[in-house]
Protein backbone atom coordinates (compact mmCIF):
# COMPACT_ATOMS: atom_id res chain seq x y z
CA UNK A 1 0.00 0.00 0.00
CA UNK A 2 1.32 3.40 -0.90
CA UNK A 3 1.68 5.93 1.85
CA UNK A 4 -1.34 8.11 2.40
CA UNK A 5 0.65 11.28 2.67
CA UNK A 6 1.90 10.98 -0.88
CA UNK A 7 -1.58 10.83 -2.25
CA UNK A 8 -3.02 14.17 -3.27
CA UNK A 9 -5.77 15.49 -1.08
CA UNK A 10 -8.57 15.81 -3.71
CA UNK A 11 -8.40 12.11 -4.33
CA UNK A 12 -8.43 11.31 -0.64
CA UNK A 13 -11.37 13.58 0.09
CA UNK A 14 -13.42 12.31 -2.84
CA UNK A 15 -12.71 8.70 -1.96
CA UNK A 16 -13.62 9.35 1.63
CA UNK A 17 -16.94 10.88 0.62
CA UNK A 18 -17.68 8.02 -1.76
CA UNK A 19 -17.06 5.33 0.80
CA UNK A 20 -18.89 7.12 3.56
CA UNK A 21 -21.96 7.75 1.45
CA UNK A 22 -21.90 4.19 0.15
CA UNK A 23 -21.84 2.88 3.69
CA UNK A 24 -24.75 5.13 4.57
CA UNK A 25 -26.70 3.80 1.57
CA UNK A 26 -26.29 0.31 2.89
CA UNK A 27 -26.93 0.94 6.55
CA UNK A 28 -29.63 3.60 6.54
CA UNK A 29 -33.03 2.57 7.74
CA UNK A 30 -34.89 4.93 5.51
CA UNK A 31 -34.91 4.21 1.79
CA UNK A 32 -35.26 7.89 0.95
CA UNK A 33 -32.03 8.67 2.77
CA UNK A 34 -30.41 5.78 1.01
CA UNK A 35 -31.34 7.25 -2.33
CA UNK A 36 -30.02 10.64 -1.41
CA UNK A 37 -26.77 9.18 -0.12
CA UNK A 38 -26.44 7.18 -3.31
CA UNK A 39 -26.83 10.32 -5.35
CA UNK A 40 -24.02 11.85 -3.35
CA UNK A 41 -21.88 8.81 -4.05
CA UNK A 42 -22.55 9.23 -7.74
CA UNK A 43 -21.53 12.88 -7.53
CA UNK A 44 -18.25 11.94 -5.96
CA UNK A 45 -17.66 9.29 -8.56
CA UNK A 46 -18.37 11.84 -11.26
CA UNK A 47 -15.73 14.02 -9.68
CA UNK A 48 -13.34 11.12 -9.94
CA UNK A 49 -14.18 10.88 -13.61
CA UNK A 50 -13.28 14.53 -14.05
CA UNK A 51 -9.95 13.89 -12.41
CA UNK A 52 -9.42 10.98 -14.75
CA UNK A 53 -9.88 13.24 -17.75
CA UNK A 54 -13.22 11.64 -18.60
CA UNK A 55 -15.24 14.79 -18.63
CA UNK A 56 -18.02 13.60 -20.89
CA UNK A 57 -18.52 10.49 -18.86
CA UNK A 58 -18.74 12.55 -15.71
CA UNK A 59 -21.58 14.57 -17.16
CA UNK A 60 -23.37 11.55 -18.49
CA UNK A 61 -23.02 9.84 -15.15
CA UNK A 62 -24.64 12.78 -13.45
CA UNK A 63 -27.44 13.06 -15.95
CA UNK A 64 -28.23 9.37 -16.35
CA UNK A 65 -27.53 8.01 -12.92
CA UNK A 66 -28.07 10.80 -10.52
CA UNK A 67 -30.61 12.56 -12.71
CA UNK A 68 -32.71 9.86 -14.25
CA UNK A 69 -32.26 6.54 -12.55
CA UNK A 70 -32.12 7.79 -9.02
CA UNK A 71 -35.08 10.07 -9.59
CA UNK A 72 -36.97 7.05 -10.81
CA UNK A 73 -36.15 5.33 -7.54
CA UNK A 74 -37.34 8.36 -5.65
CA UNK A 75 -40.59 8.46 -7.59
CA UNK A 76 -41.28 4.85 -6.87
CA UNK A 77 -40.55 5.29 -3.19
CA UNK A 78 -42.80 8.27 -2.94
CA UNK A 79 -45.60 6.88 -5.07
CA UNK A 80 -45.68 3.65 -3.16
CA UNK A 81 -45.22 5.54 0.06
CA UNK A 82 -42.60 3.08 1.08
CA UNK A 83 -40.61 5.25 3.40
CA UNK A 84 -42.96 4.79 6.30
CA UNK A 85 -42.69 1.11 6.20
CA UNK A 86 -40.06 0.01 8.63
CA UNK A 87 -38.00 -2.65 7.07
CA UNK A 88 -37.51 -5.61 9.36
CA UNK A 89 -33.76 -5.98 9.44
CA UNK A 90 -32.20 -9.33 9.19
CA UNK A 91 -30.86 -11.18 12.15
CA UNK A 92 -27.31 -10.87 13.40
CA UNK A 93 -26.55 -14.16 11.77
CA UNK A 94 -27.15 -12.52 8.44
CA UNK A 95 -25.23 -9.40 9.43
CA UNK A 96 -22.20 -11.49 10.28
CA UNK A 97 -22.62 -13.65 7.21
CA UNK A 98 -22.90 -10.70 4.88
CA UNK A 99 -19.99 -8.86 6.52
CA UNK A 100 -17.79 -11.94 6.36
CA UNK A 101 -18.66 -12.57 2.73
CA UNK A 102 -18.05 -9.01 1.67
CA UNK A 103 -14.87 -8.82 3.74
CA UNK A 104 -13.56 -12.05 2.30
CA UNK A 105 -14.23 -10.87 -1.22
CA UNK A 106 -12.42 -7.60 -0.51
CA UNK A 107 -9.54 -9.57 0.93
CA UNK A 108 -9.32 -11.78 -2.10
CA UNK A 109 -9.50 -8.78 -4.42
CA UNK A 110 -6.74 -6.90 -2.62
CA UNK A 111 -4.65 -10.03 -2.50
CA UNK A 112 -4.99 -10.45 -6.25
CA UNK A 113 -4.04 -6.83 -6.82
CA UNK A 114 -1.02 -7.23 -4.58
CA UNK A 115 0.19 -10.31 -6.36
CA UNK A 116 -0.41 -8.96 -9.86
CA UNK A 117 2.71 -7.61 -11.51
CA UNK A 118 3.21 -3.90 -11.16
CA UNK A 119 2.41 -2.54 -14.54
CA UNK A 120 1.96 1.07 -13.86
CA UNK A 121 0.25 2.32 -16.91
CA UNK A 122 0.90 5.91 -17.70
CA UNK A 123 0.13 6.62 -21.26
CA UNK A 124 -2.58 9.16 -20.81
CA UNK A 125 -3.76 10.93 -23.88
CA UNK A 126 -5.44 14.18 -23.32
CA UNK A 127 -8.26 13.51 -25.72
CA UNK A 128 -9.52 10.11 -24.64
CA UNK A 129 -12.39 11.35 -22.56
CA UNK A 130 -13.64 13.95 -24.97
CA UNK A 131 -16.92 13.66 -26.82
CA UNK A 132 -15.22 13.75 -30.17
CA UNK A 133 -12.94 10.77 -29.65
CA UNK A 134 -15.60 8.79 -27.79
CA UNK A 135 -18.13 9.42 -30.51
CA UNK A 136 -15.70 8.36 -33.17
CA UNK A 137 -15.05 5.01 -31.53
CA UNK A 138 -18.69 4.51 -30.62
CA UNK A 139 -19.94 5.01 -34.15
CA UNK A 140 -17.21 3.03 -35.85
CA UNK A 141 -15.99 0.11 -33.76
CA UNK A 142 -19.02 -0.19 -31.49
CA UNK A 143 -21.81 0.62 -33.89
CA UNK A 144 -23.54 -2.72 -33.68
CA UNK A 145 -23.56 -2.91 -29.87
CA UNK A 146 -24.79 0.65 -29.88
CA UNK A 147 -27.74 -0.23 -32.09
CA UNK A 148 -28.39 -3.33 -30.07
CA UNK A 149 -28.52 -1.33 -26.87
CA UNK A 150 -31.26 0.72 -28.53
CA UNK A 151 -33.26 -2.47 -29.02
CA UNK A 152 -32.54 -3.43 -25.44
CA UNK A 153 -33.99 -0.14 -24.29
CA UNK A 154 -37.06 -0.64 -26.41
CA UNK A 155 -37.56 -4.10 -24.94
CA UNK A 156 -37.05 -2.78 -21.43
CA UNK A 157 -39.56 -0.01 -22.07
CA UNK A 158 -42.19 -2.38 -23.40
CA UNK A 159 -41.52 -4.76 -20.51
CA UNK A 160 -41.81 -2.03 -17.93
CA UNK A 161 -45.07 -0.77 -19.42
CA UNK A 162 -46.51 -4.25 -19.55
CA UNK A 163 -45.50 -4.97 -15.98
CA UNK A 164 -46.67 -1.66 -14.65
CA UNK A 165 -50.06 -1.90 -16.35
CA UNK A 166 -52.82 -2.47 -13.93
CA UNK A 167 -54.42 -5.85 -14.34
CA UNK A 168 -58.08 -5.32 -15.21
CA UNK A 169 -59.11 -8.37 -13.23
CA UNK A 170 -57.32 -7.17 -10.13
CA UNK A 171 -58.70 -3.65 -10.33
CA UNK A 172 -60.79 -3.91 -7.18
CA UNK A 173 -58.12 -4.95 -4.69
CA UNK A 174 -55.30 -2.73 -5.89
CA UNK A 175 -56.04 0.75 -4.76
CA UNK A 176 -52.73 1.31 -3.06
CA UNK A 177 -51.08 3.18 -5.91
CA UNK A 178 -52.54 6.28 -7.29
CA UNK A 179 -51.00 6.24 -10.70
CA UNK A 180 -49.37 4.18 -13.33
CA UNK A 181 -45.62 3.99 -13.07
CA UNK A 182 -42.95 4.42 -15.78
Amino acid sequence: MPELSKIPWPFLILSFISILCALYVVTSNSPIRSVLALILTFFSISAHYVMLNAQFLAIVNLIVYAGAIMVLFLFVLMLLNLNKETEPLKSNKWLIGAAVSAGLLLLVFTASIQTSSEHIMRHPEAGTGLVKSLGKVLFTDYLVPFELSGILFLAAMVGAVMLGKRDAANESDTEITGREEV
Binding site: S15, S34, L57, E85, T128, A156
Partner: protein, 108 residues
Protein backbone atom coordinates in the same frame (compact mmCIF):
# COMPACT_ATOMS: atom_id res chain seq x y z
CA UNK B 1 -4.41 20.85 -9.12
CA UNK B 2 -4.83 20.41 -12.78
CA UNK B 3 -6.53 17.24 -13.92
CA UNK B 4 -3.58 16.21 -16.04
CA UNK B 5 -1.22 16.02 -13.15
CA UNK B 6 -3.19 13.43 -11.32
CA UNK B 7 -1.65 10.67 -13.44
CA UNK B 8 1.70 11.49 -11.94
CA UNK B 9 0.65 11.50 -8.33
CA UNK B 10 -2.10 8.94 -8.05
CA UNK B 11 -1.32 5.42 -9.13
CA UNK B 12 -3.92 3.26 -10.80
CA UNK B 13 -3.87 0.84 -7.90
CA UNK B 14 -5.55 3.49 -5.76
CA UNK B 15 -8.52 3.52 -8.07
CA UNK B 16 -8.56 -0.24 -8.05
CA UNK B 17 -8.67 -0.30 -4.27
CA UNK B 18 -11.36 2.32 -4.18
CA UNK B 19 -13.60 0.51 -6.61
CA UNK B 20 -13.05 -2.76 -4.76
CA UNK B 21 -14.14 -1.19 -1.54
CA UNK B 22 -17.22 0.34 -3.14
CA UNK B 23 -18.06 -2.96 -4.80
CA UNK B 24 -17.81 -4.85 -1.53
CA UNK B 25 -19.95 -2.31 0.26
CA UNK B 26 -22.58 -2.75 -2.41
CA UNK B 27 -22.30 -6.49 -2.11
CA UNK B 28 -22.69 -6.31 1.62
CA UNK B 29 -25.86 -4.32 1.12
CA UNK B 30 -27.24 -6.85 -1.33
CA UNK B 31 -26.60 -9.63 1.14
CA UNK B 32 -27.80 -7.82 4.21
CA UNK B 33 -30.79 -5.76 3.20
CA UNK B 34 -34.26 -7.16 2.61
CA UNK B 35 -35.97 -4.22 1.01
CA UNK B 36 -36.07 -4.85 -2.69
CA UNK B 37 -35.66 -1.18 -3.60
CA UNK B 38 -32.54 -0.86 -1.46
CA UNK B 39 -31.28 -4.04 -3.08
CA UNK B 40 -31.65 -2.42 -6.47
CA UNK B 41 -29.76 0.61 -5.23
CA UNK B 42 -26.93 -1.56 -3.95
CA UNK B 43 -26.70 -3.15 -7.37
CA UNK B 44 -26.41 0.33 -8.89
CA UNK B 45 -23.61 1.03 -6.45
CA UNK B 46 -21.76 -2.11 -7.51
CA UNK B 47 -22.19 -1.23 -11.16
CA UNK B 48 -20.76 2.21 -10.47
CA UNK B 49 -17.75 0.70 -8.76
CA UNK B 50 -17.11 -1.29 -11.91
CA UNK B 51 -17.66 1.81 -14.04
CA UNK B 52 -15.04 3.66 -12.03
CA UNK B 53 -12.58 0.85 -12.65
CA UNK B 54 -13.32 0.88 -16.37
CA UNK B 55 -12.76 4.62 -16.57
CA UNK B 56 -9.56 4.48 -14.57
CA UNK B 57 -8.04 1.82 -16.79
CA UNK B 58 -9.25 3.60 -19.89
CA UNK B 59 -7.66 6.88 -18.84
CA UNK B 60 -4.39 5.38 -17.72
CA UNK B 61 -4.05 3.39 -20.92
CA UNK B 62 -5.24 6.14 -23.17
CA UNK B 63 -7.86 3.92 -24.78
CA UNK B 64 -11.43 5.14 -25.09
CA UNK B 65 -12.93 1.65 -25.34
CA UNK B 66 -13.12 1.37 -21.58
CA UNK B 67 -15.18 4.50 -21.34
CA UNK B 68 -17.48 3.24 -24.04
CA UNK B 69 -18.09 0.16 -22.01
CA UNK B 70 -19.22 2.39 -19.22
CA UNK B 71 -21.90 3.67 -21.54
CA UNK B 72 -23.07 0.17 -22.23
CA UNK B 73 -23.09 -0.63 -18.55
CA UNK B 74 -25.23 2.44 -18.05
CA UNK B 75 -27.60 1.26 -20.75
CA UNK B 76 -27.98 -2.05 -19.02
CA UNK B 77 -28.31 -0.40 -15.64
CA UNK B 78 -31.02 1.93 -16.85
CA UNK B 79 -32.94 -0.90 -18.46
CA UNK B 80 -32.52 -3.01 -15.39
CA UNK B 81 -33.71 -0.24 -13.12
CA UNK B 82 -36.79 0.36 -15.25
CA UNK B 83 -37.81 -3.27 -15.43
CA UNK B 84 -36.76 -4.00 -11.85
CA UNK B 85 -38.79 -1.12 -10.50
CA UNK B 86 -41.78 -2.16 -12.60
CA UNK B 87 -41.56 -5.65 -11.15
CA UNK B 88 -41.24 -4.14 -7.73
CA UNK B 89 -44.35 -2.03 -8.18
CA UNK B 90 -46.18 -5.10 -9.41
CA UNK B 91 -45.01 -7.09 -6.45
CA UNK B 92 -45.98 -4.36 -4.01
CA UNK B 93 -49.41 -4.11 -5.53
CA UNK B 94 -50.07 -7.79 -5.09
CA UNK B 95 -48.32 -8.47 -1.79
CA UNK B 96 -48.14 -5.10 -0.06
CA UNK B 97 -44.51 -5.65 0.75
CA UNK B 98 -41.12 -5.10 -0.80
CA UNK B 99 -39.42 -7.73 1.32
CA UNK B 100 -37.49 -10.06 -0.95
CA UNK B 101 -37.84 -12.87 1.61
CA UNK B 102 -41.47 -12.90 0.70
CA UNK B 103 -40.52 -14.05 -2.78
CA UNK B 104 -39.57 -17.45 -1.40
CA UNK B 105 -43.31 -18.08 -1.49
CA UNK B 106 -42.94 -18.35 -5.23
CA UNK B 107 -41.16 -21.65 -4.73
CA UNK B 108 -43.16 -24.44 -6.24
Amino acid sequence: MKPDSIFHTVEISHYIYLSCVLFCIGLFGVLFRRNAIVLLMCIELMLNAVNLLFTAFSSYMGDSSGQLFVFFVMVVAAAEAAVGLAILVMMFRNTRTTDVSFLSNLKG
